[in-house]
Amino acid sequence: MKQTYWNDLNGNFFPEMALDFMPAEKLREVQLQRLQAIVKLAFDKVPLFRSRMDEKGLTPHDIKTLGDIRKLPFSMKKDLRDTYPYGLFAVDMKDVVRLHASSGTTGKPIVVGYTQQDMDVWAEVIKRGLLATGFRRNDIVQNCYGYGLFTGGLGVHGGLEALGATVIPISGGNTERQIMVMKDFEVTAIAGTPSYFVHIIDVAEKMGIDFKDLKIKRGLFGAEPWSDGMRQYIEEKTGIKAYDVYGLSEIIGPGVGCECECQNGIHIFEDHFYPEIIDPETLEPLPDGEEGELVITTLSKQAMPTIRYRTRDLTTIETTQCECGRTIRRIRRIGRRTDDMFIIRGVNIFPSQIETALLRAEKALPHYQIVLDNKGNMDTLEIKVEISRDMVSDSIGAMENITKRLKHSVEQILGISVTITLCEPGVIPRSEGKAKRVLDNRPKT
């Protein structure tokens, strides 16, 4: 599929999409101008950034090329907590038109603010992501992201409105009603977290509804890492196309980047968000193509300019150009976060590795939960796996083979021994937002 500049395949003209195809030299020029302006704004208005610049003996005048970004200090989530609630805002509160906040599972929430211009940029980048994944104004879109303080619901809502699609602001929860709406309102596309959509698939199956009889054709999923196996599962079960949208509240919310119809990586809207990859240990920049921690600088954000924010997401910047012809660079889809990693018996483990192993063994994604515990001074890893109808057999031996198969597959990938416990359906709590895959019952040290 070759996209012809900013016209889509049907010849429709979308000016916003042109930005995705800007010639690379022009894009770098825009990035440098914006970087210089944002560094100046943060330097003048955000005391924490100013003091970090002072420590390094830097002023905004030291940013002469894009490469000079490497001189700048990093920022991280802790900064938002330390300056709670408004310490990183660079504008007067009278110019802040929206606040969002994270759920704050680990202490105080983090608060982020937007000016009207920030809101417009947010809607624009999500619209660009929607366009890139084939959403059009004649779509009827069910938005299952949670509405409220979470950036997902209202963020995607704004982008859908900017596109001119018909938005159903249903938010998360009440799954049977979601399915009724999907059917009765002739929904053609959906947005939400992938784990919640998997739950919708399960419930629809129980209600005897076949996705292939519905009008839904595509879905925009994000707010949590999801594996390629999960995408395959969603697409095969429902016949829709599942696209990944990337973002984080600290930067803007969903819309930092998005896949295109080629589904081979996330295009970063880098005229607004400048990506770098660093080694999370040494903090040294890594060349394109190498895996490391994604660091993002907001190039246009007014209310909360964020310089070199450490996302904790592990990825690489792709070195090849996407078939779609977009000049904005791509990162590999996020499978792992440095935050999600847990260490058991000295081995670093990511939940995504376990998901991959389960998928490999069962060819379908069962509901699962990872339970960490400590028994007799030994860390234990138990994976609870729910039995679905397709897995039930009349033979105990066949059921025991499921356990063996899963155990073997997981142990091969992780290299440590695990316990697999088969559970009845519905025992593992369902998420209506981000999935909580890991339960750590180990005593805190």
Binding site: K206, E386, I387, S388, R389, D390, M391, V392, S393, D394, S395, I396, M399, E400, T403, T421, L422, C423, E424, P425, G426, V427
Partner: protein, 143 residues
């Protein structure tokens, strides 16, 4: 000639059998036979019921994972050596995964045995050739 048998996955915790029986009773489904198999970690409840397809739906809506497999029901002479005689025929040489007696008041001189053969179609043939009466779904479930 194959009879649908329902298998239900159950965790080893109290009250599971009661949940199963109650949800079936509430849906006016009659239990004809029930056996339990267990592995220590979990169990399988195998049922033959009056309305198998409806039963699966009912059980699933009670949050249980249930599936249907085909078994064979056949009359066996209740007299001394009845089963031994049947198994002495070529039918006894086929691979039987499991079997159990079906405790239903039938004709006085016969018991009903439920067999799970690896290859049910061959088994039906072999049992018939051995002179055994293989029961149809209608004979057993009455539908």
């Amino acid at each position: 000639m194959k009879i649908p048998q329902i298998s239900i996955f159950v965790a080893n915790r109290p009250g599971r059998l009661q949940t199963i029986c109650k949800s079936l009773a509430d849906a006016n489904i009659n239990l004809l036979s029930l056996t339990l198999a267990d592995s220590g970690e979990f169990g399988l409840v195998r049922l033959i019921v009056s309305h198998p397809e409806k039963a699966v739906t009912v059980l699933e809506s009670s949050g249980l994972a249930a599936a249907i497999t085909d078994v064979i029901a056949c009359e066996v002479d209740a007299g001394l050596g009845g089963l031994a005689k049947l198994l002495a025929t070529p039918a006894g040489q086929l691979q039987i995964d499991y079997m159990y007696a079906y405790p239903m008041q039938h004709e006085k001189n016969y018991a009903i045995m439920i067999f799970r053969f690896k290859d049910p179609d061959t088994a039906i043939d072999a049992l018939r050739k051995a002179g055994a009466k293989v029961l149809s779904r209608k004979d057993l479930l009455g539908d």
